[in-house]
C-alpha cells in the first residue's frame, strides 16, 4: 500500500514537473532557430514528453493496483518507521552535505575532509569517536599526498 501510494504521489509530481518543463522552462531556456533547422527544443521536449506519458501510465497503474487491493480487503498500515528513517536520512544528510561543501570550499580537503569524515562517522556511530577521529586525521593527508605526489593531480 505504501509503495502504491508512493508510486502515485511520485507519478503525479513527475506529471506536474514535466508539464512545467514543457510549457514554461524549456521555452524560456532555449532559443528559436531558423525555419527548417533542427530545433533546440526537440530533445528536451521529447525527454519531458516521455516522462509525462510514462508517469501517467504509472499513476494509472498504481491507482488500479490500490483499488484492487481495497476490493480484496488487503489494505494495511504503512511502514511508518521506515518512511520516517528515509525522511531523516534525506533531510539530515542533505543538510550535512551543504555544511560539508561550505567547509570544504573554505578550508580545502585536509581540514574540510577531516570535518566531513568526523561529521558522517559520528552520524553513523557516535559511540566510537576515537576510531572516527583517527580516521579523520589519517585519511585526508594520505589521500592528499597520493593525489598530488602520486598521481600529479591538484587538490586544494
Amino acid at each position: 500500500v505504501a509503495s502504491e501510494r508512493a508510486d502515485f504521489v511520485s507519478a503525479i509530481a513527475i506529471i506536474a514537473g514535466s508539464a512545467i518543463l514543457i510549457f514554461h522552462v524549456i521555452p524560456s531556456q532555449t532559443i528559436k532557430g531558423f525555419p527548417g533547422e533542427f530545433p533546440q527544443t526537440f530533445m528536451p521536449i521529447l525527454a519531458s514528453a516521455i516522462m509525462f506519458i510514462a508517469s501517467t501510465a504509472l499513476a494509472a497503474r498504481s491507482l488500479i493496483a490500490w483499488r484492487l487491493r481495497r476490493r480484496n480487503g488487503q489494505i494495511g498500515r504503512d511502514a511508518e518507521g521506515s518512511a520516517r528513517d528515509a525522511w531523516i536520512t534525506a533531510i539530515g544528510l542533505s543538510a550535512a552535505f551543504v555544511v560539508v561543501l561550505a567547509v570544504l570550499s573554505r578550508f580545502g580537503f585536509l581540514l574540510g575532509g577531516a570535518f566531513a569524515i568526523m561529521t558522517f562517522g559520528l552520524l553513523f556511530n557516535h559511540r566510537r569517536p576515537v576510531s572516527i577521529v583517527l580516521l579523520a586525521i589519517a585519511l585526508p593527508p594520505v589521500a592528499h599526498f597520493l593525489a598530488i605526489n602520486g598521481l600529479g593531480l591538484s587538490l586544494p
Binding site: 533546440q40 525527454a47 519531458s48 516522462m51 504509472l58 534525506a90 551543504v98
Partner: protein, 497 residues
Amino acid sequence: LTDILYYAIADAFQIGNLLAIIAGVVLGITVGAIPGLSGPMAIAVAVPLTFYMQPLTGLAFLVSVNKGGTFGGAISAILLNTPGSPEATATTLDGHPLAKKGQPVRALRTALFSSVSGDTFSDLVLFVTAAWLAALALKLGPVETGALVVVALAFVSELLSESPSKGLISVGFGVLIACIGTDPSMAAPRMTFGMVDLQGGIPLMAVGIGLLALSEVMVRFEAHLSDRRSKKSEESALSLSGQADDRFTWSDYRAILPTIARSAVIGSMIGALPGLGTSMAAFLGYSAARRASKEPESFGKGNIKGIAGAEAANSAVVGSNLIPLLALGIPGNIAAALLVGAFIAHGITPGPWLFAEQPRLIYGLFVSMVIANVANLLIGNSFLRLFAMVLRVPTHLIFPAILFLCLAGSYLNEQTWFSVGLTMVFGVVGYGMRKLGFPVVPFVIGLILGPMLERTLMQTFIFTNGSLLGLLDYPAALALYAVAAIVITRPLWRRTS
C-alpha cells in the same frame, strides 16, 4: 595486424600497466567484498585517478577494478550471507550454506575459479566478435545508428526495472539532464539558467559518483538508523578456519567445469545485449546448473555447482558487455557506461571506428584483460584471508571514508566545487530514486546516450528533410524503430492479454 598485435602485447606488459592491473584487481576485490559496494561504484570513484595515466593503463586499471569487483561480491555473499554486489545474490544460495558447513575456503575458491573461468571465456567472445561487429556497424548510416540508440534505450528502460514505466521515466530523465549545456546544432546554451558552469553540460562522472556511490552511503545510513531502532546488531562474518576437508581440489574443478561452461555461455550472451545485467545472468546460470544437475534437491544446501553456476555467469558478463560499447558505441550496462566516461576523459570516443583509428589501444586493452584475469586468480587465491578481513571493518569507518573519497574524486574530475555540489545533489536524487523504486542505471545510460541520440536524430532530420515519410527510404531504421516500439509497449499487451 601482426605488427599491431606485437606492439599491443608490448604495451600491455609494460611495468606501469601491470602495476595498474594489480592495483585495479586489489581495489576491485576489496570494494566488491564490502556489502553495498560494487565494482561499478569503485569505477565511478576511480575514474579521476586515471586522468594522468596513459589511456591504455587507465582503461586497464578500470577494467581490472570491474573484474576484481565481480569476484569480491562473492566474499561477503559466502561469509556474511549478504551479497557484496547485487549480482552475487545468487551466490549466497549455496555459498553461505557451504561456508556454514565448515567449508568457507572451498566455497570461496569455487567462486574464484568459476568467476575467472567465466570471465576469460567472455573475454574471448569479445575478442572474436567485437571487431567483426564493428566492421558491420561502420556500414550503418546515422539514420540507422539513431534507431539503434532508440532500441538500446528501450531495452534498458524495459529490462532494468521492475516497472517499465519507471524505467522509461529514468531514461527520459537521463536524456533531459543530457540536454543541459551547449546544444550541438546551434552551439548555443540550453537550459543553463544563466549559469556558466552548466554551459559545458552536466559532468558525467560527478553524476555517476553521486548516483552510484553517494546514494549508497545514504542507503546504508538509513539501514543503520533502522537497525539502531530495532536494536539489531551487525551480522558477523564466518571465519575462514574451516574443517580439514575445507579445500578446493582439481576433482572439484573438473566436476564444476560443465557448469562453468554452460554459465559462461549464458553470461556472455546476456552481457552482449544492452540492459540485461549481471544479476539476471547469475540467476539464469544458477537455475541452469540446478536443472542440469542429477541431484537438484542438494541446491540451496551448499552444492559447489550452485556457486559455480552463479559466479561463472555473472563474471561472463564483464567481457561481453564491452561488445556493444566497442562495436557500436552503446554501453549495455553501468560498468560499460562508466568506461565511456573514462574513454572520453582520455579524448577517445568509443565506437566502431576505434578498431580502425586506435587498434593498438584496443588490442592492448584485450591483452590487459587477459592479464587482469590471471592477476585476479593469483591475487584472489593468495590473499583470500586478507580480503575476508575487510568484512570486519565497521561501517562507521568504511562509509565516511567512501564519502570523503567520493567528494575528492568528484573534485579531481572537474577541478571545481560546482562538480562536488552536483555530486551531492545527485547523491540525494539517487537516494530518492532508489527509495521510490526508480532504477538509476537507465538514468545514467540515458545521460550518456542523450548526446549521441540528439546528434543522430539531427542527421536523420537533415536526411529526411524533417519528414517522417522520409524514413520510408531507410527500411533497416524503420525495422529498428518498430522493435523499440514493441519493446516499450510489450507490458501493455501482456497486461491486456
